[in-house]
Symmetry: C2
Subunit: 497 residues, 2 copies
């Protein structure tokens, strides 16, 4: 009986996922080379599909099945697929039925157009051109939060919870307060040290082609499976899943900075390997889906920072780097390379920020979007608010909006409440790496030898394969045998100073 | 009242087109770099969308509206959009309701998988690996034809009519008989002439990058709008439309042959410019859709052959060619280039065949697929049947199936009855070019000066903007003030000998 209703839910959910992955292709394509005049029609297509999807998600028949399943799984092992399904799909369904179809479609249309206009506005450094879109998106997201809110729940808490179940602004605030107290002296110390260094060897002039080839080669070495994925170029890096065996990572290369493209690929490959580590048989269902955005980010940051910025990683990668870039890195000793990759300096662009200052960029966004949702701040006030926060927390001020409030894609895509999961991801990543290091008897030795498989298998076993069987923090605690604690991140960052 | 029901039909049809263009993106992506393990899921996605599409196409509500519209437009100008809509949508609807949804979905799944397996089988020259797919596709297409057939109508006529309204095998047979009688002596004469020539300057060693850049530049010069389209690489060249302003052409470059890639692009750009010349306001409706496959092919062949292989074209293009390929074409005089591009020689590969022998390749496929549909020939007998036809009509025999029966994508995609429209297209193209030449006061002078706009505008005006307002042959007759006649093609081909 359980299996009967479970089968029905599974079939329904998998068909929904199939439409969703079709939508994901429309979005991937929008970011890889949609002809310039085709944006409006693409937005209409996405809007139509968003409508079809929403209709499936609020299907009353699905609601009945979910109720039946919940009754049947009440006393069962909470880790059994049917229990996980009952819990997660019920949550999704109860959210979906609170949203009117018209609002879902309006958000889809506004964010599809919004992302196109954001790209152009960023290019022209024209915040005022983007403002009407942004105002509309914020207004729609406020409406969405109002629909979803439990009695007394704030809009921003609604948004946070949708990305990271159980997260609240109070909880995030506490995490940031503690982290900031540790980071401020670290940033001070490390910046002073970096300021004394000469020109960096990872800044200069790098051809795109060897960057792409080297990054692709490294992605393959650490375990990204190109038979089940691909790597392309885009304006704002991301990773997307278009099917159980189709995981696509996208990055942007810079001719001036080696780090931009290379660590962009490591980061997105980390996301991609998480998706590739989910059970394809459960694709499109909670058991085969990532636990949360925070856990997702832990996987990208682990490979980007904990592995990719380590001394041992470059011990292995350095000779290969010289092969791929015979000109650019000739005669650069390993020690200097690692030192320059790890420089700490307050800066303007989040995705190019060093590991130590990075979380301050998140703190700024967290505070601004909280105010945006609650109506304390208007979109038109953002550029100035942005500047004063950067002055306050990082001591640097952008002279253009391109380097300020226009730098991130998120708000144009309606992703409000998303940023804090980046810092959660950093915290989880450090804790996971620490645990793997202990359990595998020293990662340093393995990484130094270019043996990445044990680490990837450990992650697959401890994190990936569980899908949404645990709540995000439970999953990390289960994997590491520790309460979630930012001390592992702080300890790791101290080694950078 | 007319406008009311018309509005309803339009809205319905446009939403159907939106799903269809989503499907077209899934197919485009399948041909540009789908990860190898993702083929099965992509087939499932396409199958699901094919099902959704079919459900919309057989919507009884749509049937009611069509009947209402037909009654209202009975005495109206047949060129009025509502009359065209009534005629074409009724035809589509009446076809669709004859097909069971399960068959539509089975064909979609078999052809999606079929194309993937065809690519692999062709690569490995393994017809037996492809055979089970092909047998299945042929069986499904026979079932489809049986569902659609009017009393007494043969399966192959059903297939032909679906691509070119009004075409029958008797009519096609008459056209081929006449054409063959003219071509046989021409091929003989021209081949003898070509056989005396030395090595060709368009065969040898060509880097891909300048090929791509030159072809793209020329496509832009003749009028393909890259703000509303893009150019990519694929295994089997094609052109697809993903929206009113999103027309994508795909080609394959060869390092050994300049002609493969360059004329591939001209050909697909011709298709693309036709699509770009349709009225975007009527996108997804008969008034904004191409008249037929034959007319479509007339546009590609006109730019590829009538323009692209002419002496006057290369008079203009030659200096640019030398710029893009400073090594490969250095010191090659214009006359020799034109001569080598226009060599006539019976050969094995259709898409690389010269203009004169090309239609014999079509004749072979026409005869084989007619027999396949009627059950006179089994799929497993194809490789041998293929060889004996090539021996009979062209005097050459492939030693591999890669160069024989596996060379074309069509059958793997379920496109049976499609090939004859290529020859119709050649006939239309020559007739259109002849008429444009007369009406514009000499195309030679314009092409020689690189002035392609008058010709493109003439085609837009005479052909593109009419969509499906006329039946295919009517459209050509209307544009050229002549009955459709293969004599213009034969006259044109005589100049090649």
């Amino acid at each position: 009986m359980t299996s009967d209703v479970l089968e029905k839910i599974l079939k329904h959910t998998r068909q929904t996922a199939m439409l969703q992955s079709t939508m994901a292709l429309l979005e991937w394509d929008q970011n890889t080379g949609l002809p310039s005049n085709a944006a409006e029609y693409r937005a209409e297509q996405l809007t139509m599909l968003a409508g079809l999807l929403h209709k499936r998600r609020v299907d009353p028949q699905l609601g009945d099945w979910i109720n039946q399943l919940s009754e049947q799984t009440g006393n069962q092992d909470p880790l059994a697929p049917s229990s996980v399904m009952a819990r997660c799909i019920k949550r999704e369904y109860q959210r979906a039925i609170k949203l009117p179809q018209s609002l879902v479609q309006a958000i889809s249309h506004a964010t599809s157009i919004g992302q196109q206009i954001w790209v152009e506005s960023k290019l022209r450094d024209d915040f005022s051109g983007f403002l009407p879109c942004l105002e509309k998106i914020i207004e729609l997201k406020r409406q969405e939060a109002d629909c979803l809110a439990a009695p007394g729940q704030s809009r921003y808490d609604v948004m946070l919870d949708s990305y990271e179940e159980g997260a609240t602004k109070e909880r995030i605030r506490r995490i940031f307060d503690r982290l900031r107290d540790s980071l401020v002296p670290l940033i001070q110390e490390a910046s002073e040290k970096s300021a004394k260094l000469g020109p960096s060897v990872v800044e200069g002039r790098f051809e795109i082609k060897p960057q792409e080839e080297f990054a692709k080669w490294v992605a393959r070495q650490i375990g990204f499976d190109f038979d089940r994925g691909r790597l392309d170029q885009t304006e704002h890096p991301f990773c997307t899943t278009l099917g159980p065996h189709d995981h696509r990572i996208l990055t942007r290369y810079s001719k001036e900075s080696f780090s931009t493209g290379f660590f962009g690929v490591l980061h997105e490959a980390g996301h991609g390997m998480y998706e590739q580590g989910l059970d394809p048989l459960w694709y499109g269902t909670p058991v085969g889906s990532a636990a949360s955005l925070g856990v997702h980010e832990s996987q990208s940051r682990l490979w980007e920072n904990l592995v990719g910025l380590s001394d041992s990683f470059w011990h292995w990668a350095h000779p290969h780097l010289l092969e791929y870039f015979p000109g650019s890195f000739e005669g650069v000793p390993l020690e200097q390379l690692v030192q320059d990759l790890n420089r700490v300096q307050p800066s303007l662009i989040r995705i190019e920020a060093d590991e130590v200052t990075y979380n301050m960029h998140i703190l700024i966004r967290f505070e601004l979007e909280e105010q945006l949702m609650d109506g304390q701040l208007n979109a038109r006030e953002l550029p100035n608010a942005w500047k004063s926060k950067y002055q306050e927390y990082l001591g640097v001020v952008p002279t253009t909006d391109q380097q300020g409030v226009l730098q991130d894609v998120h708000w144009s895509a309606g992703l409000i409440g998303y940023f804090p999961t980046y810092t959660l991801g950093n915290i989880y990543a450090a804790q996971l790496y620490h645990a793997a290091d202990q359990q595998l008897g020293g990662l340093d030795r393995l990484v130094r030898a270019g043996e990445f498989r044990p680490l990837l298998e450990w992650l697959q076993n401890k994190v990936h394969r569980h899908g949404q069987s645990y709540l995000p923090m439970q999953l990390i605690e289960q994997a590491t045998d520790q309460k979630v604690d930012s001390k592992y991140l702080v300890e790791h960052l101290k080694t950078k100073c």
